[in-house]
């Protein structure tokens, strides 16, 4: 059971998990955690499994078995992999122009929950945490990353064209008009 819990935590974690962190989340003692981690490690260490558990700086983390890296690369390089969805693009656009911004603020602008989309943008390295808001609960503030700037050939955020200058072309304006009339 504790083994299962730790497996699921390692699976979703974005960074190595320390024993202390695992203690805090599971409420278990250090020894129990260490025993469970050792068991997971041994199970995965037969050399054939797709996932391995490694202790790296700061804690434990799942990695793909290096033996299969050729296949993993092939998947990652295949063209349709990691393409951004419309929802992701919209979220990125809002963050680019309103950063630093909280998750809830992005949701409010887009009118829908953005949890998974935001996690995905962070995973893809386009968006990163840039601090905490002063508001109650100190929600995380998000902003765009260097990878984002690079992708659009921007030196810095100051180079983003101002939104005010940008007014929709005639066709877009007509579309909105039509929308409002119908």
């Amino acid at each position: 059971m504790l083994k299962g819990i730790i497996e699921s935590l390692l699976f979703v974690s974005d960074e190595p998990l320390s024993v202390a962190k695992l203690q805090q989340v599971t409420g278990q003692g250090q020894t129990e955690i260490e025993v469970a981690l050792e068991e997971i490690k041994v199970e995965l260490a037969d050399g054939e499994r797709g996932i391995v558990l490694q202790e790296v700086a700061g804690g434990f983390r799942f990695f793909t078995n290096p033996k299969y890296s050729a296949y993993v690369e092939k998947l990652v390089l295949s063209s349709e992999f990691r393409r951004l969805t419309q929802a992701a693009l919209e979220t990125l656009a809002v963050i680019a122009y309103r950063q630093p911004i909280t998750r809830v603020e992005v949701s409010n602008i887009r009118g829908v929950s953005v949890d998974s989309v935001l996690a995905n943008l962070v995973a893809k390295g386009l968006v990163k945490e840039v601090g905490k808001d002063d508001a109650p609960g100190h929600p995380t503030l998000y902003g765009t990353s260097d990878i984002f700037l690079e992708s659009f050939g921007l030196k810095d955020l100051g180079e983003l064209p101002s939104l005010e200058e940008f007014s929709p072309d005639e066709e877009t304006a007509r579309k909105i008009q039509r929308h409002l009339q119908s």
Binding site: S8, F81, A96, G111, A123, L126, S167, P168, L180
Partner: protein, 260 residues
């Protein structure tokens, strides 16, 4: 028949009050009607439709008092129920009650509709359970290891800066509020009492009128029903006399004038 209906009525009213159904926002008129039908656990195989109608109207009234949204759909269903109720109040010859009559059709279609709706309500419950379970399962949304993310194709390939700006611009526009012109929608304020007065006035105006004539002025279905109910009421009070020369012929209505 009238007596029967009111007996059932009072029974149901007392019983219903003990249920004390919490007023919630119903997901539409079928939801409300189903709720009323299914909560009536009392085993009355002959509960008249009038009782359901009364309860339904009572609910609409309470929804209005609590400022809950009563959309036109609720009123349409109320009108249909009143229609069924008013037909049911008429004495009907047995052979006329045969299948295929208008009343029968309306009721069958309403029953079919409620059963269909209940089916989808059950399907929605099933979806809820599935969604709840799935929301407890987390996939892995984690950045690729660096050695892989360097060689990975550009996730923004084909996206131009101008596309991003257009999106941002569009999303940050003040949300247009889609105002619907409501000037043509008005609350139907005429009560049966007013219709009774109106029918009497028109009969005073001209001593004899046909049923068709009286209903001809009605602008809507609900108004027709109100006029019909007004005529029934006047007949019950003995204020009008109704005659019909032959089956399906014109129904003549005239005031019973005490002075004459």
């Amino acid at each position: 028949m009238n007596n029967n209906a009111s007996t059932h009525n009072s029974q149901l009213t007392t019983h219903d009050e003990s249920y004390n159904i919490e007023l919630e926002v119903f997901q539409g008129p079928f939801d409300l009607l189903l709720e009323l039908i299914l909560r009536q656990e009392v085993d009355l195989f002959d509960v008249p439709i009038a009782a359901i109608t009364d309860n339904y109207l009572k609910y609409l009234q309470r929804m209005k008092e609590l400022n809950l949204e009563v959309t036109s759909e609720f009123l349409v269903l109320a009108a249909t129920l009143i229609e069924l109720k008013s037909i049911a109040l008429l004495p009907v010859e047995d052979e006329e009650k045969a299948e295929g009559s208008y009343e029968e059709e309306t009721r069958e279609s309403l029953i079919g509709h409620l059963i269909d709706y209940k089916t989808f309500q059950n399907a929605a419950d099933d979806l809820y359970v599935r969604g709840e379970m799935q929301s407890k399962m987390y996939p892995r949304d984690v950045q690729l290891p660096e050695e892989l993310s360097v060689s990975a194709p550009d996730v923004l390939e084909g996206v131009r800066l101008i596309d991003l700006i257009s999106l941002a611009h569009e999303l940050m526009q003040p949300k247009p509020s889609f105002k619907i012109d409501t000037t043509h929608i008005y609350e139907y304020k005429v009560s049966i009492e007013e219709k009774i007065a109106e029918v009497k006035d028109r009969l005073k105006d001209r001593s004899r009128r046909t049923f068709r004539d009286l209903c001809g002025s009605a602008g809507s279905k609900i108004e027709k029903i109100l006029i019909f109910l007004a005529i029934l009421e006047l007949f019950k009070r003995g204020e009008i006399a109704v005659s019909q020369a032959r089956t399906f012929g014109e129904i003549n209505i005239k005031l019973v004038n005490s002075e004459q």
